[in-house]
């Protein structure tokens, strides 16, 4: 059953005297456990699509149902609640809280989502992402890859069924990027619906499914050519 359903979603912006169509009549579904890459060049609408799913933006037309809940036209308050309960975000620029340590950043995710916690969950999640020995470091004391792993841990810690990652490897080197993709892939294997937005075609080769956007429209939706490959075979 689809965890994420988009039906005829369109997003238009009024800029200056004209209208820009960021998304046009996009329909797609993502199941639990799917690792989906949304691919497209800059300006293709892939980030807009992510923002729609994450309820950071509202569609001009169409319908969005996430985890059986129609969020189209939901109140602002309902959208906040939806994000707390359903969505975990991973950003290109990490967006960690600079005044909090690694473990506190992760704990933030747990507290926002009001997850049951015996006090060890944050440390466990950080250990899962390979940062068990950096719990009390501030973000400024971590490398880019480590910061992104903290960001992932924060998103994972929410326990959300949907993980949205916007260019998660954009700031990172190849080896680190692969490690990040491995983490995300593992979450999909554990049942989360993972959507990764990227312009890097190579990354899409490791996905279960690739949705390709161009000019705001879906121009391709299916498994990567030749089927998904192991992450260790990726090269960029």
């Amino acid at each position: 059953m689809a965890v994420i359903e988009l039906d005829g979603v369109t997003r238009r912006y009024t800029v200056g005297g004209g209208t820009v169509t960021a998304l046009e009549d996009v329909s797609l579904g993502v199941d639990a456990g799917e690792f989906v890459v949304v691919l497209g060049p800059s300006g293709s609408g892939k980030t807009t699509l992510l923002n729609m799913i994450g309820a950071l933006d509202v569609p001009t037309d169409g319908r969005i149902v996430i985890a059986g809940r129609d969020i189209t036209g939901a109140s602002r308050r309902a959208l906040f609640e939806y994000r707390r309960a359903t969505v975990g975000f991973i950003f290109q620029t990490f967006n960690l809280f600079p005044s909090l340590t690694a473990i506190e950043n992760v704990q933030f995710g747990i507290d926002v989502a009001r997850r049951e916690d015996d006090g060890h969950l944050a440390a466990e999640v950080l250990a899962q992402v390979g940062l068990g020995d950096r719990l009390h470091h501030f973000t400024s004391q971590l490398s880019g890859g480590e910061q992104q792993r903290v960001a992932i841990a924060r998103a994972l810690a929410t326990g959300s069924p949907v993980l949205l990652a916007d260019e998660p490897t954009g700031e990172l080197d190849f080896r680190t990027g692969v490690q990040i993709l491995e983490l995300l892939g593992r979450q999909a294997a554990q049942g989360a619906a993972v959507i990764v937005v990227t312009h890097n075609r190579e990354i899409s080769r490791a996905a279960d499914r690739v949705v390709e956007l161009s000019g705001g429209r879906v121009v391709g939706d299916g498994p990567p050519p030749g089927g998904p490959i192991a992450l260790s075979e990726l090269r960029w």
């Binding site: 923002n51 994450g54 950071l56 969505v87 967006n95 005044s99 926002v112 989502a113 009390h136």
Partner: protein, 815 residues
């Protein structure tokens, strides 16, 4: 030209993007520089106004004053002076008669009765020409008024009691006098009593009348006890003075007298000394205000520059020379500073108008110059531009010295330098991370927190210091009132018309009046106390410390000792640097014959210290009246009303008795102190308004910058589903914490500045009053409310912006 246009256009965009902060910083600079200009203008006004007022009234060059109780024929006095060898240097010489009385005048529905001085002047055609009478309302005295019951009332009394320009008063003996105007002579630009002490505007009157009228009222026909003269330009004053002294000694060998020049005139001295001393005080206020404003502006501009850190780093990475990189933020700083200085001129003009009205209110003069002072304003505007510009130059200098790779990194600088081993990293606080976030943000962003807190602390410091000064002034007045009101609060002081034996029927008549339940006699004369450290005029009171109905409280030492000894007030002892057992020289009159006195110097030990706040009150036990050759005599009585009798009724019945010159409340000495402080209080109230505004602006602006700097964090919180009200509460909590730190720092520092002002600055300015050093709880609460609430409320103004935040765009913001 293209480059200039480019920079100006970019700078304009910077200004527009931060217009709220630009406006706030500019206003802060405007308040600081405007008040600086306004406060600094007052000394120029005073000097100009005093000079013009003394000139228009032809202030005397020399004055001959006979000692208390001495009178000589007016013609002989003038003749003695005009008979000196250098008489050609004397361009004007006019005898006068001064004496004590009381004035009874209706004010609204009540009667006001106050002690007064009658000043008899030559009003013949063209006179007086020396120390002339300047009539500020109504008409002046004319030749036809000679010998008539016509007078001009002193302006301060009329103004204080809001009297009509003309009317009538009743003086001692029930004589009705018509006052035809209100004015003053230069010796009474500051109201001075018969013994040379400062009097209050509402508690003491001066009646200027013809010499003949004064002689009749005071019972000294044809006599004078004062003479004022002017000298030709360039005259050798010392030579003339010496010749007058020889002439007086020859003509009136039994008569004591003093010869004074304008610098020795109490009022003249007070006014010109006050220019320097009060200007020091106002300059301190101005400097504190400007410092608070400059620091607030510095704090905010540092944050603005830091917000451009990454752009500066990008420019450096592209190879742009640091000097060119610095142009943009420096240009921003310069534009904000200029805007602030221009607004400051407007603030300064408004402040000028306020201060001008305060000065006119508390010091009516024939001439007041309160013109715009371009030099002062230029100085204030220059400071308003230079200080903030220097303030922004420093962070710009720092920013262009940072390595480009550091400047362009996306990890914010806020948490750098905290260290792995930081105790704060292991801080255990109650609640979850969301609840803890405000405390953690405050503790870990040390530099940012401190900068914000110090900006708030700067203005709170000045606010606490100046409001504390107001508290101290009021506490001093209250303390003085408590002292003088010891015993029966209805106690009154009866000034006799002259020295009388204690057994005199007039004295006994007062003591046995049905309106009086108890009384005691005193002697009160003017004098000077001095030693190597200081010298100042005093009022010496001799009273029976064992039997008088009121005596000053003695907190150190004793009142009565084996030999004669003085009881000084705390301020006097402090200024003389003398303690118990120390010796001072008392310059006092000593009676010679029936109606004359000479001044002598008597070294005396200090045997007691009284907590009365006024410096000029000095006490001696009446058993040592022989020092003044006044044993068995009295000129002042203290009386208590009969139980059930009102003070007004008692005073009124006493006025009818022979020998009574005036009856006054003992609080008049404290009212004198209050008068001296009134002008400072008036100025302080205006400055306090500026400080409240400044504190609110800095607090608001600091918090608003905080909100801007945390935009990406807030967007992240929204992305994770934290609702806007929760994020707002976190912002308010963080602001309140920062505000609390700043306010507590400000209160502590303000206390230090207040103590400095009271112990170091003010003793030289308000010489006659010893201020109580106090800070009221309400002042602390006001400071807390302002510093914490203003800061705490500030984030709420961003609620709308937060709730309408474009979350996706903000998530991608690079600082």
């Amino acid at each position: 030209m293209r480059a200039v246009t480019f920079w100006l256009r970019w700078s304009w965009r910077d200004l527009r993007a931060r217009w709220v902060q630009v406006a706030a910083i500019a206003l802060i600079i405007a308040v600081g520089s405007g008040f600086y200009s306004g406060l600094s203008s007052t000394s120029a006004w005073r000097r100009s106004s005093y000079g013009a007022s003394y000139a228009v009234t032809h202030m005397f060059d020399l004055r001959v004053s006979l000692s208390t109780g001495s009178f000589v024929p007016a013609g002989e006095l003038t003749g003695a002076v005009l008979g000196i060898p250098h008489a050609r240097l004397v361009t004007g010489a006019e005898p006068r008669l001064l004496g004590s009385t009381q004035v009874d005048v209706p004010v609204g529905a009540r009667e006001v009765i106050v002690p007064a001085t009658v000043v008899g002047l030559d009003v013949s055609a063209g006179h007086p020409t020396v120390s002339a009478l300047a009539t500020l309302t109504g008409r002046t005295l004319q030749p036809g008024d000679a010998g008539q019951p016509v007078a001009v009332l002193n302006r301060q009394f009329g103004d204080f009691n809001q009297l009509a320009p003309s009317g009538s008063v009743t003086v001692s003996g029930g004589h009705r006098i018509a006052y035809v105007g209100q004015g003053l002579t230069p010796e009474y630009f500051v109201v001075v009593g018969p013994d040379g002490q400062l009097e209050t505007s509402g508690g003491y009157a001066v009646l200027f009348t013809s010499l003949e009228t004064a002689q009749a009222l005071l019972g000294h026909p044809g006599q004078a006890n004062d003479l004022v003269l002017t000298l030709a330009p360039g005259a050798d004053v010392a030579v003339v003075r010496a010749e007058i002294a020889r002439a007086m000694a020859a003509a009136f060998p039994q008569v004591g007298y003093t010869i004074t020049d304008p610098s020795q005139d109490y009022g003249h001295h007070q006014l010109y000394t006050a220019v320097k001393t009060t200007q020091r005080l106002y300059t301190t206020f101005a400097a504190l205000l400007l410092a608070g404003a400059a620091f607030g502006a510095f704090n905010l501009t540092v944050r603005v520059v830091e917000a451009q850190r990454r752009e500066i780093g990008v420019a450096m990475a592209l190879g742009t020379p640091p000097t060119r990189i610095a142009v943009r933020p420096l240009l921003l700083g310069l534009e904000v500073a200029v805007l602030g200085a221009v607004l400051g001129v407007g603030v300064g003009l408004a402040v000028d108008a306020l201060f001008g009205s305060v000065l006119r209110r508390y010091l009516p003069l024939p001439v007041w110059h309160t013109a715009f002072q371009p030099g002062v304003f230029l100085r204030g505007a220059t400071l308003g531009v230079v200080l903030p510009f220097v303030a922004i130059a420093y962070p710009v200098w720092r920013a262009v010295r940072v390595a480009p790779v550091e400047a362009i990194r996306t990890a914010p600088v806020a948490a750098q330098g905290l260290g792995r081993s930081s105790v704060l990293a292991r801080l255990r606080l109650p609640g979850n991370t969301i609840v803890q976030m405000p405390v953690r943000n405050v503790l870990r962003s040390t530099r940012r927190t401190l900068l914000t807190a110090l900006g708030i602390a700067a203005t709170i410091t000045v606010l606490v210091a100046l409001m504390g000064l107001v508290d101290s002034i009021y506490a001093t007045i209250a303390s003085g009132l408590r002292q003088v009101n010891r015993g029966d609060p209805g106690r009154s002081i009866v000034n006799l018309d002259r020295f009388r034996p204690v057994g005199d029927p007039a004295v006994q008549g007062i003591a046995t009046s049905p309106a009086v339940s108890a009384s005691s006699t005193e002697i009160q004369v003017g004098g000077t106390v001095r030693n190597a450290q200081a010298s100042f005029p005093v009022v010496l009171t001799l009273l029976d410390f064992q039997h008088a109905i009121w005596t000053p409280e003695i907190t150190k030492g004793v009142a009565i000792s084996a030999g004669p000894g003085l009881v000084l007030c705390t301020k006097a002892a402090h200024d003389l640097h003398v303690g118990l057992g120390g010796t001072v020289v008392l310059h006092h009159p000593r009676r010679e014959g029936l109606a004359a006195a000479t001044f002598v110097d008597t070294p005396l030990p200090v045997v007691g210290i009284s907590p009365l706040p006024t410096r000029y009150l000095v006490f001696l036990d009446a058993s040592h009246a022989d020092l003044l050759n006044l044993t068995g005599l009295t000129n002042v009585m203290m009386v208590n009303p009969t139980p059930g009798e009102s003070v007004d009724t008692m005073q009124r019945s006493l006025y009818q008795l022979p020998g009574v010159a005036s009856v006054q409340s003992p609080t008049s000495t404290i009212d004198t102190a209050r008068k001296e402080l009134n002008e400072v209080l008036g100025i302080l109230r205006i400055v306090d308004i500026a400080l409240v505004l400044l504190a609110a602006l800095i607090a608001f602006n600091s918090t608003s910058i905080n909100i801007d700097e945390r935009a990406r964090e807030q967007a992240t919180m929204f992305a994770f589903g934290l609702p806007v009200p929760t994020v707002m509460v976190l912002a308010v909590a963080e602001s309140v914490l920062t505000g609390l730190v700043g306010t507590l720092l400000g209160i502590l520092a303000g206390r230090v500045v207040l103590t400095w002002m009271i112990t170091r600055l003010l003793p030289g300015i308000i010489a006659d009053v010893g201020l109580v050093n106090t800070l009221k709880g309400t002042t602390v609460l006001v400071a807390l409310a302002l510093g914490v609430l203003a800061v705490g409320v500030a984030p709420l103004f961003s609620y709308r912006r937060l709730s309408h935040m474009d979350i996706p765009s903000t998530l991608r913001v690079m600082e």
